[in-house]
Symmetry: C2
Subunit: 612 residues, 2 copies
């Protein structure tokens, strides 16, 4: 395309952005208009993509980090023939695939859900990592960012990660339109301010007028030819560019234009140009080939071993059996035991340093390319990445997250290192699976099982060693549970998971010595829960005592309730959980202080009977 | 102190760090030893602090961002006479105030809990903001950072915030010991790499040998005399400095020295020097004076107004009544309505741009200086700051968080903007209060009430307008509820909050037309819940239907259970919540699709009766 044609294409994208937002009665046309020329030149000259085959392994990848500019994205989809005009005008309507912010659940051309700012670039880094280190397919990753979102720290985690990994297949195109939602950004049109930051983080930078299509073309070309480092194109643009009544004006964020018809006329009227991006090169996918044969590790009954150790060993074995397994860790691989995978599969291990948001984002990016990521850090520090987990669930991306050092059972390090909110966080994520094993064989099985599930899969592991209570051939289906003690005389049921399973067993033994029989359920599948077994226990024993190394809200105790929400009578319930703020102490002292050790459980059981 | 004395003091801090960790049998002596000289010179020559009056308004503030180096901090406490040697040796023991990672709950000299890396500097920015813009007391804020934690994006949110606000009263001292937990950092001893980044973000930087006490002295002096921008001192250090067997070696993070006695000997033996920091200047606190008289806004019955609007108006009025109220917002003040406060009290408003972690950290920092912060953004984006909220709860800091645009009720913008996990997140925070008003007068009351509570207070607001159903004089105690419909013939209870209160009322009306009476409870206090009213409703009506604009896990439905965990019989329960992944649609369509509108509630009520 020549200059005039590129200018025309930019205007077409603006017109369609205005029209789509007008049809919806909401949306962000002005944020789309600032980036329209950037998008036009990218599509026409630099983006290699087989429109008919979104899954083509050689396709370039595009991420709209400023997800609110969805009208621009959908207008671009129309320009390449993926969307018809009639569908474009369903923007934001009930049932339309063209949502207010793009998600891949219904649009195969969208790599990842955006709309929470500062996440597109981090995920783009993950995709570029896959391209560079795993797929080696030569595709490029283009991320269109807003300027406002550069205030998010996650962008700088991404910047650091990308330059450290020499991701020259990654380009950030920053639409510096100087206006945020409620006013100007910190740096306005000071492109140098952004360039200095990206350069300091090891990026190549180019500063351009974002409405000069020839300058854009040269900058994108420069990004493609820059070796050894990622490129950031800092483009000076005007919000609402092309329509005088809204151009470069404050107070118009997220609002359709007042008079769309006039605006379209001012932009030169409707155009219906169709363009075809360049074809991607033919490539083969590497990870389709399994790595080899390998059995999961087996642990002997009675052996004592921490579930985090079992995680590391199981993951290393899974990596041997399957070539598509990759692991990430937040600079605590010696604690989470991800280092065991790293040692055996260094090519598929990604050290993310202390940047949990970027770790989860990289996992999401890797997953978009078909890899099966396991990302681990302390359970407590996964809270750092909560918004990324939330957005991954909106994407429908399948990732495995592993939180080690759960609960007060870690001991002396104190509350800052204790995951006591992670079950609540992970359970509330849409479509998630939450697993919490109590022994090494169970852990090993669940690690392998997780790989095949949809959505966010969370595994909670424990720092300290615990006895192996299951044989290596025992099965642990998701949504199941294990009844570890049961008799016709059970007068209560102890429901536990992870570290508290062992405490509950000891409590049941103590109670039995007093003639009180208690059923014990290992609820390793915290979400979904085993409704059948819980309901039977309620019917047969009358009351349930849940015991968890977690705050009392949102964890195991609340999960059990899920079995009793169909209007049936609910059993008597008592919940033992961490209700105080722990300090430092030994693991045993911590469990006792929190009232979730065997002694406390037995006491609660006796008390419940006196109240019956 | 002369050079030799400073060197001696550094050695004393090392010796005591080794001894404390040895007594505990755990801890991080090597991470303490690298920073010992930095700490010694700071304490002896630059830190102004009245040891007997930790609350002295003129005191300098110190934040140990690398919280695992707590042995160093406690050794410093000993050197200034705050801790005796016997107490030092209780490090990490049950009941000791000297926890594995420092918290202010039991140590008045600690400003904020640390131990989750990358949080100390962000909170330090908040304290420095208070010093610069509010207290104007001339104190300085010194933050000792690790090099590993500079990978956290939150550090760069803080860097941006600090330079933008010209916080020349803030100094980051970075202990660049090149070793993280499991190996080397990305940049090793490349001080320039860090300096480039801080400079790009607008900081003054100084690079020094972190074991040259004279160089440290000059650098700290330079930090004090640098005007208009914060200073980062990048200090090249050796982990485990001073003991050959551990110095600059990998694999020794978080481990006591094998032979403490030998190490102490190698460090020159025990010393018991006592030093006295310089006195702070006399200052007066400004915010002790209330701003004036102002009544909370009042809204007329039947008027329709969004609770987010009521938040903005109530906060602006509270700011007029009380001089200690401050507000922060994440560049969405036009949405959260924090802009109403900004307009009336620009001197006490802090625009944090799109950096939610830094926003919460700044709120924590401001709170440490006695200010009462209200920090607002979309409820969905508070998930970004989850780890900061968690750490604030460990600190015991009192902050108010406000999440707007809760739930599917926002409509067209789609799931990325919908807070559907926020109740679960906030409920699971230790000691939190969770409030969710349904009308404007209730919001206004709760906004004022929040200010006086302990810990994390969360208010959830709604985007769309709703009718005012309470008079302006109605009281809304925390832990209370409002019974909006009640009769002797109630066959069920609808428990709702926020937007679903209005749907529940409409459902009750519909059911009543069919001869079915339903009680309606407005559970505006989601944590703590009104156990008395819920129990009475259970007894009198037999079953409860909870209705919430939130995912089904961890929210209102689970909260209600809290009333029935004392072993008493639990009523029949049914939970209506958001169980699907929403797309774009109008607010009404969203509520219907999620099954939480009046029609769906009435249908659930009928169904429950057929099952009874």
């Amino acid at each position: 395309m020549n200059t005039a044609e590129l200018v025309e294409l930019g205007q077409q994208l603006r017109v369609d952005s205005v029209r789509a937002s007008d049809a919806a009665g909401s949306g962000h046309p002005t944020s789309s208009m600032s980036a329209a020329d950037l998008m036009a030149v990218l599509l026409a000259h630099h983006f290699r993509y087989d429109v008919d085959r979104p899954a083509h392994p050689g396709n370039d990848r595009f991420v709209l980090s400023k997800g609110h500019a969805s009208p621009l994205l959908y207008s671009a989809f129309k320009a390449v023939g993926l969307v018809e005009d009639a569908e474009l005008l369903t923007f934001r309507a009930l049932g339309s695939a063209l949502e207010g912010h793009p998600t891949p659940r219904r649009l195969p051309w969208v790599e990842t859900a955006t709309g929470s700012l500062g996440q597109g670039l981090p995920v783009g880094v993950g995709i570029a990592l896959a391209g560079k280190r795993l797929d080696r397919a030569g595709y490029r990753v283009w991320v269109l960012c807003g300027d406002s979102e550069l205030a998010e720290g996650s962008v700088w985690e991404a910047a650091e990660h990308a330059s450290y990994e020499h991701l020259d297949n990654l380009t950030a195109i920053v639409d510096v339109n100087r206006l945020g939602q409620r006013g100007t950004t910190r740096h306005g049109h000071d492109l140098d301010a952004y360039a200095r930051r990206f350069q300091a983080f090891g990026w190549h930078t180019v500063e351009i007028d974002g409405h000069d299509v020839d300058a854009i073309d040269r900058a994108l070309g420069q990004a493609r030819s820059t070796a050894g480092q990622p490129t950031a194109i800092l483009a000076r643009t005007l919000k609402g560019k092309g329509v005088a009544s809204v151009q470069d004006r404050e107070g118009l964020h997220g609002k359709p234009l007042k008079n769309a018809e006039e605006a379209v006329a001012e932009l030169g009227g409707r155009r219906e140009a169709r363009i075809r991006p360049q074809e991607p090169p033919a490539v083969r996918m590497l990870h389709a080939v399994p790595a080899g044969e390998s059995e999961p590790p087996e642990f002997g009954l009675g052996e004592t071993i921490a579930t985090r150790d079992a995680y590391g060993r199981a993951l290393a074995a899974l990596g041997s059996a399957r070539g598509d397994i990759v692991a990430l860790d937040g600079e605590v691989g010696d604690s989470t035991r991800a280092e065991l995978f790293a040692k055996e599969h260094p090519d598929r291990y990604f050290e993310c340093y202390i940047a949990e948001q970027q770790m989860v984002a990289a996992a999401v990016g890797l997953a978009t390319r078909g890899w099966v990521p396991y990302a681990a850090t302390f359970a407590a520090f996964l809270t750092r990445a909560h918004d990324f987990v939330r957005m991954a669930s909106i994407s429908g991306t399948g990732i495995n997250l592993v939180g080690s050092h759960a609960g007060v059972a870690i001991g002396q390090d104190g509350p800052s290192q204790m995951g006591l909110e992670d079950l609540a966080m992970m359970r509330a994520v849409y479509g998630s699976t939450v697993l919490y094993p109590c022994d090494a064989n169970q852990t090993a099985r669940l690690v392998a099982t997780m790989a095949g599930l949809d959505g966010i899969r969370y595994l909670r592991t424990t720092r300290g060693a615990s006895p192996v209570i299951y044989g290596p051939d025992e099965e642990f289906p998701v949504g199941g549970s294990k009844v570890l003690r049961s008799s016709g005389q059970d007068r209560m049921t102890l429901v536990a998971a992870g570290v508290t399973v062992h405490e509950a067993l000891a409590a049941a033994d103590a109670l039995e010595r007093e003639g009180i029989r208690a059923r014990v359920i290992d609820l390793y599948s915290v979400k979904p829960v085993d409704r059948t077994v819980l309901r039977r226990a309620a019917e047969e024993t009358g009351c349930l005592i849940t015991v968890e190394d977690h705050h009392e809200e949102g964890g195991l105790g609340d999960a059990v309730l899920d079995a009793f929400l169909d209007g049936r009578p609910v059993p008597r319930l008592r919940r033992l959980a961490v209700r105080t703020m722990p300090g430092s102490a030994s693991p045993e002292e911590q469990l006792h202080a929190a009232g979730i050790d065997a002694v406390s459980i037995a006491a609660a059981g006796r008390l419940l009977l006196t109240e019956a």
